[in-house]
Subunit: 345 residues, 4 copies
């Protein structure tokens, strides 16, 4: 098979850089296009010296859409929310596979964009065509769609941790409590004084409460598997002094009389073919370093049956499984490659 | 009034160092004794160059109890759990005021020491004399006791955040969920490879779950104010890459039909005379840096009435309000000084 | 003596915040004015919750110069380079003591401002009136001037470490090599993506080479004590993942046949009345934590006589001795207070 | 070609872990043996969850030397200095290729082991057989030796940066000044309170001065290329709050009348076939992040001809080019593979 021709629009942000780093070691692709207005005409090697491959590839301008379309089979969009819409629209119309890492096609209700992202979505008909590309849940849909909306980093961690239990009807979707600790790359390269080293170091800062943009996304997906029950999420994210990674503590009310063993077995069964999901036994806890620079999600489940409570602790790398890694996993599925191609085991 | 003569046994650990640092700027005391086996006969200035005052005071051996007793009115014990028991016993018998920062006198049930601290308590009669010295709750008892058991860092943060609501009967003591993020000084100078910089940096590590030693302490104190109801705590502490400070997310079930405003007003009223408690308005969130190197507790309350849930976010410095600062606050109360003496405003 | 009435223009940057923090504990002053365009009309307590004193003082607009003049005896300027010139001019004309933490009055040659700071200095006559306010060297001049130009953080560390040896004629001013490691607050709250946590953490970045703005300042001051010899500096600063503090490694060629003991003795003699200078014995090395949150400079001298080389290792806190602390030290001298007032021992 | 069978003795330290991580992605080898007393009988996947490959391989006991010998063609020793000597001796006698990451075979003068490492070397005849395996300098010797002594991290960075200039006779070997900033993994997993997160964070600490163990190693190698001149090194290493990486500032006296361009050209020519050496143009500075998790050395040269000084700024990853990466590079050379196999480009 000839290699898949790949483009990355927005290749100089944190997700874009990670995409390029992973793609540089992907045996089934050839990287043809990387764009960055800031670094236009500079070489990849001069901007990111430690990526290694494709050192002479030049950053180009994202507006050269005809060239991008001609040169690629699949294009990743790693742009701030709202910025990639015209590119997505054009490339989708040209028959390209579009894999969007932003929120622009995640939400099915156009009103949510006005409420949470402060823009009116110009391509509501495309929203209907987009697949919410959580690979372990929607593998089949991913395989046949040309518009893949990659889930947010927090939703990825939360949803993969609780969907098996929700589908069993064992936990109550009406109130999922999520406490999250996140590194700083999750906020991108935004020039915000709150993201300066001097402000983050030796600090912990809750933010985005109570209406973080990932809340409607989590609710939308919980509802899909909640069998008609209403969904509710209490979400408290905290920014901590580290670059990458998310640790989640999730609590929910048990609605079934199950044992710790039954819960673990069900989750293991659910993910028995999922190469990137690692379920730790009761009593073991994931650490962030288990998942750094990988596409893994690690989690463990802890039942407090006498209190009817279920606790899940989960860890992912926001740039790996939470963004670039998962996007490549989706590309692999879409093009019929093994999910793990270019992503480690 | 002649200055209170103070000794610190265990002055070279993190809590001990912080005690000495604060005492060095306390206008009502004179520091007479600092002990450290490791630094015996070395000067304070040579070991902790930036403390400033008392630079020529020498570390002495903690076993010189007669001298310690003769030279002091009050002795702080800042030793690992179980190590200070004979000192506490001797000095208490000599009529000294003993302020113990360890857990050795916090728990009223001697069995808890066997379960959680792995030693059999040799002075169970002293346990009955000890006051759990949470200043905002037990000011009167602190004022008349010669054996002050300083609360743990996590319990200080949790209890001060929820006791006003528990006393009102507005939240259910049967399940308090606590998610905590902590810096590394909370673990002391223990030589554990998990506390090396190389292991902590860029990592987040849940630990001590589900039976952290602070759980029985929190339960004991909740029960005192729970009006006969059983108490339950789900406690998940996470170690993060910072030296000092604790951020807490606490959720509980509402048991009364109250409004956000009523809740805030009640808490403000409860703490109206407490100089170190800062209650932020709804929508505002404490950051760790608000409390670093202070004796403050900052917290805010967030009611989700449609879900019958109450969320509290709180921040303290584990070495300040969580240890050394609070111990000095207790000393101030015991000796009739203003609570804030030597502790800022 | 009635308290000195103090104003701080630019009280919300890192140096300004540190000034206010230190002034809040200064027994000889009363803080009357703090300005910040960003926080105008907000209270100090709401912006910097952990300062403690003056919590109700409101930030005002720096352009209200008449009020500022009327309310104060001394005004600190803690503004970006070039921004405080009109304030300095006005307040100086009004007879106020002006203590400027920026570079605006440090350099005596107006051309240096064009070369290094990219502006044409509008008050060249004031440059002649300004005193380079390095307290340990120019105490007398500070005592009688109303315009104090506070030295930069690097120059403070470098100059105080080598001036005793230069004055003796023991080291060659023609090539002083300075390798410096600095925390991030030295760069202020500038919105530069290179100062984001995600860029600084786990990185080390040389910068400002070879023409850092502190080079002409260091050269100017070396020349004053070089007895007619030309001066040369090779200056390599590196940004490291920490908030505060500077560690310096300085090497120079020995020009005299002196022993280690003679060198140390001479430096100790030179600084025998300097409360903030700590000279460590040969073989001991200053650590950054010795000086954090203090007004100390720690350094040690190491002679390699067989190579004719002298090495100095020095540490200061860039916000303490390198900025706000030293500015208060200068104020103390100017107003006849003990140098250490409000600054610890 | 059948894959090279590899063993790693000491696979649980930082260098050992990095070796295993790199070997897991090396296409020309099969990992047969990993030893660790601490983790004996535990699986690689359970100890280092994010390595990916070889998850089921069990850690074995290093004393099972017969098995190790039988199962491997090449054995890496990643043990503390002095601990691997009997393994090296045995395996070398068995005809295995031994690649030792410790200092045990770096120094040719046995007395240096007594002076700097405090042990008497038991295999002085083996010292003569060992090759100092700096790949860019001793490629030919590496190709034909069965005992490869991998250089230390600091010497690797220093030597590769200055050998081209020393060989030209352009800088004076009599005094090379090296100022180094290092992360904490360089010290290994030693249980030393000075390596605790609480001690390293927000600190900078010079250490190992003036007789760091890498000084005799650097001197030995400088002498080899100094054409009979004496060699001298002034070495000041500083520990900084980061896990990995070394940044070096090296100054030397120029002994020839060369230009910046000539110096750069000579270095580029010297390394024209070296895939891991990146020479930046004058005015550009390497940052640590350019080399993190790579086998690169980045450096730039800056001549100050009017002062007869040459400055080199260099960056390497102490676990990459400074240890595990370079060891694999040496293995590749020894077994006739491309140097870059398994190490990126």
């Amino acid at each position: 098979m000839s290699p898949i021709r790949v483009g990355v629009i927005g290749a100089s942000g944190y997700s874009g850089e990670e995409l390029v780093r992973l793609l540089a070691n992907h045996p089934g692709i050839t990287l043809r296009i990387i764009t960055s207005r800031q670094y236009e005409n500079m070489s990849l090697g001069s901007v990111f010296p430690n990526i290694g491959q494709y050192g002479n590839l030049l950053f180009s301008n994202p507006d050269e859409l005809e060239t991008i379309s001609k040169e690629t089979d699949v294009v990743f969009l790693a742009l701030p929310h709202g910025k990639g819409l015209p590119y997505a629209h054009y490339l989708y119309e040209q028959g390209k596979v579009v894999i969007d890492l932003s929120a622009d096609f995640r939400l099915q209700n156009p009103l949510d964009y006005e409420l949470y992202y402060k823009f009116s979505h110009p391509y509501t008909e495309l929203l209907k065509k987009a697949v919410y590309a959580l690979p372990e849940i929607y593998e089949e849909q991913i395989g046949s769609s040309n518009l893949l909306a990659m889930p947010g980093c927090y939703p990825t961690g939360v949803l993969l941790s609780i969907i098996p239990l929700l589908k069993k009807g064992w936990i109550d979707p009406q109130l999922i409590e999520v406490f999250a600790i996140s590194g700083t790359t999750g906020a991108g390269k935004t020039l915000d004084s709150k993201l300066l080293f001097s402000e983050i170091s030796e600090n912990l800062r809750p933010y985005g409460f109570p209406n973080h943009r990932h809340v409607p996304e989590i609710l939308q997906e919980i509802k899909k598997v909640a069998m008609g029950k209403p969904a509710g999420v209490l979400f408290v994210p905290v920014l901590a002094p580290l670059c990458r990674g998310i640790l989640l503590s999730i609590t929910a009310t048990l609605t079934a009389n199950i044992s710790q063993q039954e819960a673990e077995d069900a989750v293991l069964e659910f993910y028995k073919k999922a190469p990137f999901i690692k379920v730790l036994s009761h009593g073991m806890m994931p650490e962030l370093k288990f998942v750094l620079r990988t596409n893994y999600l690690y989690f463990s489940i802890h039942l407090f049956t006498e209190k009817n409570k279920c606790l899940v602790i989960a860890a992912i790398d926001n740039l790996g499984k939470g963004a670039a890694g998962q996007a490549i996993q989706a590309m692999n599925i879409r093009f019929g490659l093994a999910q793990t191609t270019g992503l480690g085991p």
